[in-house]
Symmetry: D2
Amino acid sequence: MTKKKQIVAIGRAAVDLNANEMNRPMEETSTFTKYVGGSPANIMIGTAKLGLDVGMITNVSDDQHGKFITNYFEKIGVDTSQIHVDENGHKSGLTFTEIKSPKESSILMYREEVADLYLAPEHVNELYIKNSEYLLISGTALAKSPSREAVIKALLLAKKHDVKVIFELDYRPYSWVSEEETSIYYELVADQADVVIGTRDEFDMVERYKPLTDKEISELLFKSTPHLVVIKHGVQGSNAFDKEGNVFEGKAFKANVVKTFGAGDSYAAAFIYALVKGKSVEEALKYGAASAAIVVSSHSSSEAMPTVDKIENLIKEQS
Amino acid sequence: MTKKKQIVAIGRAAVDLNANEMNRPMEETSTFTKYVGGSPANIMIGTAKLGLDVGMITNVSDDQHGKFITNYFEKIGVDTSQIHVDENGHKSGLTFTEIKSPKESSILMYREEVADLYLAPEHVNELYIKNSEYLLISGTALAKSPSREAVIKALLLAKKHDVKVIFELDYRPYSWVSEEETSIYYELVADQADVVIGTRDEFDMVERYKPLTDKEISELLFKSTPHLVVIKHGVQGSNAFDKEGNVFEGKAFKANVVKTFGAGDSYAAAFIYALVKGKSVEEALKYGAASAAIVVSSHSSSEAMPTVDKIENLIKEQS
Amino acid sequence: MTKKKQIVAIGRAAVDLNANEMNRPMEETSTFTKYVGGSPANIMIGTAKLGLDVGMITNVSDDQHGKFITNYFEKIGVDTSQIHVDENGHKSGLTFTEIKSPKESSILMYREEVADLYLAPEHVNELYIKNSEYLLISGTALAKSPSREAVIKALLLAKKHDVKVIFELDYRPYSWVSEEETSIYYELVADQADVVIGTRDEFDMVERYKPLTDKEISELLFKSTPHLVVIKHGVQGSNAFDKEGNVFEGKAFKANVVKTFGAGDSYAAAFIYALVKGKSVEEALKYGAASAAIVVSSHSSSEAMPTVDKIENLIKEQS
Amino acid sequence: MTKKKQIVAIGRAAVDLNANEMNRPMEETSTFTKYVGGSPANIMIGTAKLGLDVGMITNVSDDQHGKFITNYFEKIGVDTSQIHVDENGHKSGLTFTEIKSPKESSILMYREEVADLYLAPEHVNELYIKNSEYLLISGTALAKSPSREAVIKALLLAKKHDVKVIFELDYRPYSWVSEEETSIYYELVADQADVVIGTRDEFDMVERYKPLTDKEISELLFKSTPHLVVIKHGVQGSNAFDKEGNVFEGKAFKANVVKTFGAGDSYAAAFIYALVKGKSVEEALKYGAASAAIVVSSHSSSEAMPTVDKIENLIKEQS
């Protein structure tokens, strides 16, 4: 029997085009450097660099950008056997980024009829899900059909085969028809996941969570399937809750900030790495924070993902 | 405080146009009679005629057909406070029926961009769900957005307020993008309903149920929320299963068949009536079968819905 | 060589459902009678009944309604060799009519994704156009792609083979995206037609015509291809203009009005019949007016189309 | 009264992202340089650099890319008063280019729901058209509604105000629904233009032209509005025909080819410049060929557009 993958993610893999000229608006930049991007892609790249055995379920364009994404995954060690190549001309998404200052950066997205949202239920392989320890669901993949149904199919299969589900809320307003739809699908999937991770702003997308404290949200979720809930508050750190009633406070690490994007994905990658490795929640929070601090200090989101050594050194330094 | 509604349905209310000339193909008929139609509408009309306090959550066209539907509900005693009138020109669905012979009838549907599938989450009122004992979900309402999300919202609200959910599979191929989508949403909602009712063909829409016996399907569902499962086999009768392990066999009643359509809705109306009234599952199966036998002997689906007396008389006659 | 068709029309053929109960709003009617409908279909039925050799280029549903339309054309003598049967499930359009009073009638249309607007360029046969004396273009067929392109193809083919083009404006707000689009395509096609017929309201859809008198509109058109322009003013009669500078005034005939719909189509049928038969414009105006008077006195639009005798008798009576 | 613009173009203005690393496939390139692109935009940039008073009618995205395009036009001297900024989130098109070798280059386009195809009739200003000597129509702008209708409106206005129309076929398969649609609209617009320019492959998109020789195509067009027809054959040179029966053969100039894209636009810019300046057709063909030779020898399409001096020097050199 094949060894199980430690984690597989379902969601988008896209292309980032980061302006090389910094500290000016994008209409005045003239050259860009290309990276693989997209939250779940970044997380898988991050966990692969940390040494986990991981894979990606997605749909990419049948062109040079699609090939670039797949080649990069292969180079880094993310399994690409479940990367479907679109047959109907859908393009891989693009994100142009500009860094106006360490605190002000903005993005310009091309996500119209984008390949990753055309991942379809028939592209989701039961055996692949079954042979994984964890399934990571990225919230953006719920934004549109047929990707939405592909995710729900993966979720039903994970439950059928007792695969643990991590729901990373990853809210991107661009792709959704309405906030009411987001609220409905986020609540539906959160109820059936084992671990739920997001920023407080992302949790607030669910109407029912909005009036609640972090603790109350976690208690509501513990009545359904979840047993671990992580709510992030940016530089204020993050709160984690487990079903046994423990509350963990995580602090943000000091960083020499170049730009803020990429922080969430690097946090998630290292947090998940720690979880999968059986470390305590307290440890996992430190891994997440350290990893985030490293990525915000560099130019890209995916290429800058740190190694275990780098993370553990930073933890030592700042403890 | 207002008294709770005994049951409210979410799904389509449409117009049936039944050919008056029988035993010939529709291209040769020349006049039609107009009735209210659509499975959940028929079921609510049926339960109202049986004396229950019921309501309908739907979206109708802003025209004479929409008015006709609403007027008819009011006449029969179905609460119309949650009937939304479409603001974007969507038309109420039409079903032309022809009766070629008692065994052969066919339908011709107009359901393109139809009003009922434009019922949206914002039309679903939390208080109305909360003030109901049962919520009836019609499977066809899951076929397309935004009706799909309106149904999921109603389901989440029902669970929040401990309202019991009946899922009537009511599969209509016309409205769905693919059978894979049907499978996914049917499994998702069935898992979270209290009572699941459908024909065996409808249960077979769920890939995971297909290879299973009726009993195995019910056992799988009992691992999640459901506690009662009814699987119908047409003239062969129906099987009901409860979580306690009881199995009930229901027989079809003899009838002077004019046409077969309308049978399922009249069955559901009387079965649900019996459930709500606290009768045993065995009794409920008889009510369903008797009601179906009465409706297949007449020209329409909605107007022919029987009274309690008629049903109980037929039960006596055929016992 | 085959004899040329005298006239072929391109545009919609649909189903009318006329309420049998008159003088009440449609939400209170309960039975309907079925007829073939749609302006160009009615005109072809009218000209066939008047004895012309005519044909219809359209797309109908692959169901009982489509068959009903084709069968009726065959019965009346309209050539159906160019009637395409839709392969993608598009339905033939429906028009429910109610007659509230002789002066007040209204219609309720089902034209969403309707078969006639899916007539495509590949359904237009060059030889068929070439073998016709006249091509009648119905304005509604310009409302949406691919029907719009099918019409433009037919127009380009008619010009290639010196087939005369009659443009019947036939404006129906329902099918158009915007009035600006109507203005653009009406001006484009009117410029290239030989004969242009419409009500003054329909001519006013063209922005450039709006500020002009009837005479000025005709003079503008005479700078391009047209040589005959007919502008109708309902009960006030109609004005016809020819390129030679002649002006003809047509009077409306007295009628025992049951309902007003169908008047335009019966007018066009008889007017075109007279043109094709080589009668003078003055005569043609009388034929049109007499035919309209006959149809508004009856229940349907298509079945009521008069014979030559009936028209000529009425002309005699009212001269 | 304001002086008339010498030429205004209607069609797309987009962003080119040219790979900096040459002679390798794009999946292996990592940096890109940004330029303004799109055939009519390039032509206007070219004519502006040659000293004409020109303007652009288009719709750009409301973001940094849209601003970049508009800023660049302003810098070069293309009037931007008719550049509409999209209000519905449509993005400006992107073209990634790779240069594998001087003979093999390919492009990757992002044109899904792209801003330029959302130029609408209401964005076309009658006075602006009226105050121009020439209107340049780019064929790609006919590919989809509402841009298609914006172009037809501009065409009707040009004819109303005796503005000369140049139709640059500029066929891009990506944007069209079908070749049959292209054929129909190209024939329709070519018939009503004064000057028609395209490659032989582009002329072949019109079914009716396909079996004809260059000369026969021009003769067919001369029966309608056109008086000058230019058919290009790449390195074999081009043929021009005028209504008086003259035939002109243009030769391609020798060039140190870096890549082939951009050749057509630079040809058109210089050819049109010569026409507007009242030079002979023979001269204009030389200007076109010289300009093309200059642009294919450089990295970009727009920035590389030559000055009059450069063109005239090359003409001298190679005569």
